[in-house]
């Protein structure tokens, strides 16, 4: 199966005065697993639908390999799509759903059958081929949708929040399986989600979007640890954006930028664990919450800014005894303190 690179060049889409895509440009490498991440209304689904051909951009260009598909009809794009609600045909059984794209291509009967069963085998559903769609569980439907999207060997695969309807445990299994399927097939995949954990787990690269614009394109690690904007920092997890002036002690940290980002889980209550170089924040405890694997503490600094501090349960033996209103100090090592360019607190 030959996968293709995708080029998105200055694509713009507006609905009246609402700007859904604001001159978005993006290059996706052949065989890459790329995730579009953002809150609802960020433009990620609009971008996906533009690639699929269901949304016509106002301007800009879409390339599949070196073929311009901007004006190509959706049914000629040869793109596999997995929809949020699966979009399985309720009037066909599992096998007929998977055979559908091959039947459209007028493949010989025996080949259609063989390839459909191969695709079903890939998602471990060959035993349920005669089932009606209504008789399947959510996870099984998801697998049928996957099988149907890969069976005709599309050059590119688009997935629109495919796991959002599944419960947490199943979602984690499917995340792993989708990624494995991608690695087996090597097919260029664009995956849309609003779940940052899912994006971190699955992607080669993540594109964080907000208000129709790309905020940052990077690997999961860099997106998480080196957010380039305050939006990315906050969207990717419990992040504290702090003005350098509010920090009590700074060693080995560049204090010149306008803002520092420290994730909640980067803090220690014990100065020794934080190491020699780093920052110390002093404040009073406003609230505490036990979350199973960790404690979440809310500190208020002198200037009134709140700071979230997350302490792993294993290191939080004293947390249960903490009383709200008592003053305390949180420490973070220099390696966990990131400057955010251009962000104001």
């Amino acid at each position: 199966m030959k996968s293709l690179a995708i080029t998105i060049d200055s694509v713009r889409k507006t609905y009246g005065t609402y700007i859904a895509l604001d001159d978005v440009s993006l290059d996706i490498k052949a065989g890459e697993f790329l995730t579009l991440l953002g809150p609802s209304g960020s433009g990620k689904t609009t971008l996906l639908m533009a690639l699929a051909g269901f949304v016509r951009p106002d301007s800009g260009k879409l390339l599949l390999g070196d073929q311009d598909i901007t004006r190509l009809a959706p049914n000629k794009r040869d793109i596999g799509i997995v929809f949020q609600n699966y979009a399985l045909f309720p009037h066909m059984n599992v096998l007929a759903n998977v055979e559908y794209p091959l039947v459209l291509r007028k493949a010989p009967r025996a080949e259609v059958r063989k390839r459909a069963f191969e695709a079903l085998a890939r998602v471990k559903l060959e035993d349920l081929s005669e089932r009606n769609i209504a008789a399947l569980s959510g996870g099984q439907r998801q697998r049928v949708a996957l099988a149907r999207a890969i069976v005709f060997e599309p050059r590119v695969m688009l997935m629109d929040e495919p796991l959002s309807a599944l419960d947490k445990n199943l979602r984690e299994t499917m995340q792993y399986e989708i990624r494995r399927l991608h690695d087996d097939l090597g097919i260029t995949t664009i995956y849309v989600t609003h779940d940052q954990r899912e994006a971190l787990i699955m992607s080669d690269r993540i594109v964080v979007m907000n208000s129709g614009r790309i905020q940052q394109i990077d690997t999961p690690q860099r997106i998480y640890n080196h957010p380039s904007t305050r939006f990315v920092a906050e969207f990717m997890g419990e992040a504290n954006i702090i003005a350098p002036g509010l920090v009590r002690r700074i060693d080995g940290v560049d204090a010149s930028p306008e803002a520092l980002m420290i994730r909640a889980e980067s803090f220690h209550l014990d100065a020794k664990l934080a190491g020699r170089d780093g920052v110390a924040l002093e404040g009073t405890l406003r609230a505490k919450a036990f979350r199973g694997e960790n404690w979440l503490l809310t500190l208020v600094l002198d200037g009134g800014q709140e700071v979230l501090v997350c302490i792993p349960a294993a290191l939080a033996s004293g947390c249960a005894e903490l009383a709200t209103g008592q003053s305390m100090t949180a420490f973070a090592s220099a390696a966990k303190v990131h400057a955010i360019p251009g962000a104001r607190t």
Binding site: I79, I81, N85, F89
Partner: protein, 290 residues
Amino acid sequence: MADPALAADARRERRFFLSLSLPALFIVGLAAILPILWIIRQSFLTTGGEYSLGNYDKVLSSGLTWSALVTTLELSFGTLAICTLLGTPLALALASARPRVANLLMAFVMLPLWTSILVRTYGWLVLLRRDGLINAALTDSGLTAEPLPLVYNFTGTLIGMVHYMLPLFLLPVYAAMRDIDANLIRAAASMGATLGQTIRTVILPLSAGGIFSGSIIVFIYTLGFFITPAVLGGGKVNPLSTRIERTLSTFQDWGSASVLGILLLVVMALIGVMFLAARRLLTRNGAAHA
């Protein structure tokens, strides 16, 4: 062990909700079942007031009954065929139009339902007759040398019936099509289906329920249509309904008219059963193959 007081509460609650259906059941019983029973009784009564199968023998052995039945079926199936050909694409257009446009178009389609059938039928007479608007336009523009025979025949009757039935056919088909998940159509396209293939393999199978409902509505109405064939048929189109009218008005033969009424009822029931069977068969096949 259930608490008897709570069980009694549950029973009382069920009884109350059942009792809500009583007024409707009463009316249905009075307005639908009693007259049918009366007609069945009439059908066995001779003019002398004795019970016999004489009326059945007389009606069922008459060629007039069967030619009227053939005309009835021709009208019903003809109306259905044209409604399907015109209504299905129209429903598709409505279902794919933007909601505001669709609502506006729907209002236009429904407009005929707000006027009395008699007014509409005579309206068609004005349009279709020899010196009517359509023939005047055709002859004035030189498209035809002679006025076309558009009314006082089978064609005119069919036009009138289709006009009456189209909105009623359209409603369930439109509702079924509007309920189709847009992503199913996108999914089909993404897998390479052309518009025609999408309509054939996704839209039509999924709106089959609506098309069946619409067809049954067409049958229920058209099997008993009287005014349209009477006004637009010019005396040449004589389905069972006009046969019943003649049997009553010219012969005052309630017994034979009742037999004809029962025949109509039986035909309706048979067609209903046929449709349901066909529907079950089709949905089963549809599930197995694209």
